[in-house]
């Protein structure tokens, strides 16, 4: 049985274990029908031209883990931003781990999707926001919607900001030979409220893991949301991240994506600007080797006038790694005075590495500033000579230049400890002894 059939037929099993008599389940039922009609995307579709899901579909994934696994904190401490205090929503093989988590209801709700989807007190929020910005027809999103049950639920009411950042971490332990996870996150940040989130998916095994995640982010007037995705997973882990952001007037939402590993990673990042004077920021650093593959698909839809979007993606590709950047910007006719900027710079450090970079601009307004630039190149010889002339060996000098190349994306990271952590990851990834503490 192929994966699609298995998923569709297991929907009945899924229904056995949940309350099916509610609005949310109507949404799920519609979604599974949609997925059944569409199936997994194939390379024939333009948006999936460079990323194939064929090999993943051949794996016999378990859809519902049979047993809970325990993890000792000391064994996974390094995956947490343990240098600072954070709220934590942690899942092990898709199941919430209260032991590793720290949730709160102190003025804000930082807790579980399973609670939000079932308890009456959350119903008003769920009714307004759940599945409202996520696509109703993109097949992987509908697949996630059909099985939506667990994930992170974050609700920050008007004028509030949680005391500390929130970490959402998914561990997979290898208890199953192959595991498919479908976390579903809902993040609502009301007027004048603020939130910082760090998300990571970490496989602790060499067994296959396939995560198809959907996150909906709603930023109301004047809200500020900073979302950091840390993707440094094992070479047997694949991730499809579908993030949908709905922004209202003068809100600022930034998503930083750090892609340093994993077998196949696809980031579908969609921003919808439903208001004026909005800023949407998308930044990424990708450093890949071996046969790793990352595909960044971004979309910014400028729906109203006087808004901005800023995209800056940097990639360093070695060995046989492959990368894709596809940045789509739509500016509606009414969205005058839009400023949309997009940059994608890449360095190939191996003859066998590949990058496909494609800007896609659809501009229907006439008074806008849109710029896009994409470069693919090698390291600057003059810069290399400069470093070497100071006694720094060529290999180290190359690494230092790559480090510098990737580094300026980090400037906008607002959590200093996270910035330091990512700096170190970049240095390690580039295999350089920089000779100093970062």
């Amino acid at each position: 049985m192929d994966l699609k059939e298995k998923l569709v037929s297991s929907f009945l099993v899924f229904e056995d274990n949940i309350d099916v008599d509610n609005d949310v389940h109507d949404i799920r039922s519609k979604a599974i029908k949609n997925f059944e009609a569409k199936g997994f995307p194939s390379k024939k579709e333009e948006a999936w031209k460079y990323t194939s899901l064929n090999s993943l579909q051949k794996i016999d994934f378990s859809l519902f883990p049979k047993k809970e696994s325990a993890i000792e904190y000391k064994d996974v401490k390094k995956y947490f931003l343990h240098e600072i205090d954070t709220y934590k929503i942690v899942f092990i093989d898709g199941i919430y781990s209260s032991y590793l988590s720290e949730t709160t209801h102190d003025g804000v709700d930082i807790c579980l999707m399973s609670a939000a989807l079932t308890k009456p007190m959350y119903k008003p929020v769920i009714d307004v926001y759940f599945n409202k910005v996520a696509s109703k027809d993109e097949s992987l999103t509908t697949l996630n919607t059909a099985f939506s049950k667990e994930g992170a639920y974050i609700y920050i009411p008007k004028n509030k900001a949680p005391k500390k950042p929130v970490e959402i971490i998914h561990f997979s332990t290898g208890n199953e030979a192959a595991l498919l996870l479908q976390p579903r996150n809902l993040i609502v940040v009301e007027e004048n409220a603020e939130l910082q989130v760090i998300e990571r998916h970490q496989s602790l095994t060499t067994n296959d893991t396939f995560t198809n995640s959907v996150t909906e982010i709603f930023a109301d007037k004047n809200a500020i949301v900073d979302y950091y995705k840390l993707q440094n997973d094992a070479n047997t882990a694949s991730l499809i991240d579908n993030t949908y952001t709905d922004q209202k007037d003068t809100s600022i939402v930034s998503v930083h994506t750090f892609s340093f590993g994993g077998k196949l990673t696809r980031n579908n990042l969609n921003f919808y600007q439903n208001g004026e004077r909005i800023d949407s920021v998308m930044k990424g650093v990708t450093i890949l080797g071996e046969k790793q593959h990352v595909d960044h698909h971004t979309l910014v839809h400028h729906i109203e006038p006087n808004c901005e979007s800023h995209q800056d993606y940097k990639g360093i590709y070695g060995e046989k790694s492959t990368g894709v950047f596809n940045g789509k910007i739509i500016v509606d006719k009414i969205a005058q005075k839009t400023n949309a900027f997009q940059k994608n710079n890449n360095i190939l450090i191996s003859d066998k590495a590949t990058i496909n970079s494609k800007p896609q601009l659809e501009i229907f307004a006439d008074d806008v500033k849109c710029s896009h630039g994409c470069t693919i190149g090698q390291l600057d010889e003059d810069a290399l000579f400069y470093l070497q002339s100071r006694g720094i060996p060529k290999k180290e000098a190359q690494a230092l230049l790559m480090y510098a190349f990737a580094n300026n994306v980090l400037e906008s990271v607002k959590i200093p400890e996270l910035k330091t952590r990512i700096n170190k990851l970049i240095a390690n990834k580039l295999g350089v002894r920089l000779g100093f503490d970062l």
Partner: protein
């Protein structure tokens, strides 16, 4: 210390250095002057080992050792320093961290341990005072957003930290106002000793008022066409380069 014998160098089949002979002894300051395109910067780059330039004839010898096979970093480890006309910006790496890395790489190459942090700090303090560099400046990203003057001062700061045997200053005076020029020149003068040597490459005589050369050479069309003492620089300032070009043709 440095002996350059009949040096020919080319880039992409275009010969730029056409037989340079130069000897620099320890304790000396040499100035190399000449019009644009004479090959001054190329000479500096070739001594420092830039791979883009192909040495087709002749050699560069440092303390009796032919540098031909040495990479730029190996030359640096042996005590060659080139102050760049256009220093490169390295975002995310502070001046301090860069200098530390450079010093420790040289030490590693000589089989020495890393410099202890305390000594490093002391040295940084001493040398930044010498060049009147603000401490805050040292934690900024290397050359990023630096003014022309800051870049040059930072180059000489690195030179002070690395204590090279042979320092080549390529157009260090360009982009400097008179105060910055004085500070930079003062730094270079204080670093001068009987054991090291300096080659100053410049278009104008101005810098040589502050860093007084023992010898002045005029480079034109890939060759040294005239050598003399510091008075030659004054003569050039007065007459320009044209009279020399003519003289060369006559001779």
């Amino acid at each position: 210390m440095l002996k350059i014998n009949n040096l020919h160098a080319q880039v992409e089949d275009k010969e730029i250095l056409k037989g340079i002979n130069l000897e620099v002894k320890a304790g000396e300051v040499h100035a190399i002057m000449g019009p644009n395109g004479a090959g001054k910067s190329t000479l500096a780059s070739v001594i420092a080992g830039k791979e883009e330039f192909e040495v087709t004839k002749g050699d560069v010898v440092l303390d009796g050792e032919n540098l031909e096979e040495d990479s730029p970093e190996e030359r640096a480890h042996k005590g060659v320093f080139l102050s760049f006309q256009y220093p490169v910006e390295i975002p995310g790496v502070s001046v301090t961290n860069f200098v530390k890395t450079a010093i420790n790489e040289s030490r590693k190459a000589r089989g020495e341990e890393d410099m202890p942090a305390k000594d490093m700090l002391k040295l940084i303090r001493e040398k930044s005072d010498l060049l009147e560099i603000d401490r805050k400046f040292l934690s900024r990203s290397l050359n990023e957003g630096f003014s022309g003057g800051e870049k040059k001062r930072n180059e000489i700061f690195q030179m002070a930290m690395l204590e090279p045997k042979l320092a080549i200053l390529d157009e260090t005076d360009s982009g400097l106002d008179i105060d910055a020029l004085r500070i930079v020149a003062n730094g270079v003068n204080k670093l001068k000793s009987k054991d090291n040597a300096v080659i100053v490459i410049t278009h104008y005589q101005r810098l040589l008022d502050y860093i007084v050369p023992d010898y002045v050479h005029v480079l034109h069309n890939g060759k040294i066409v005239k050598s003399g003492t510091k008075e030659l620089a004054l003569e050039l300032e007065e007459k320009g380069y044209d009279w020399l070009k003519n003289e060369t043709i006559e001779s």
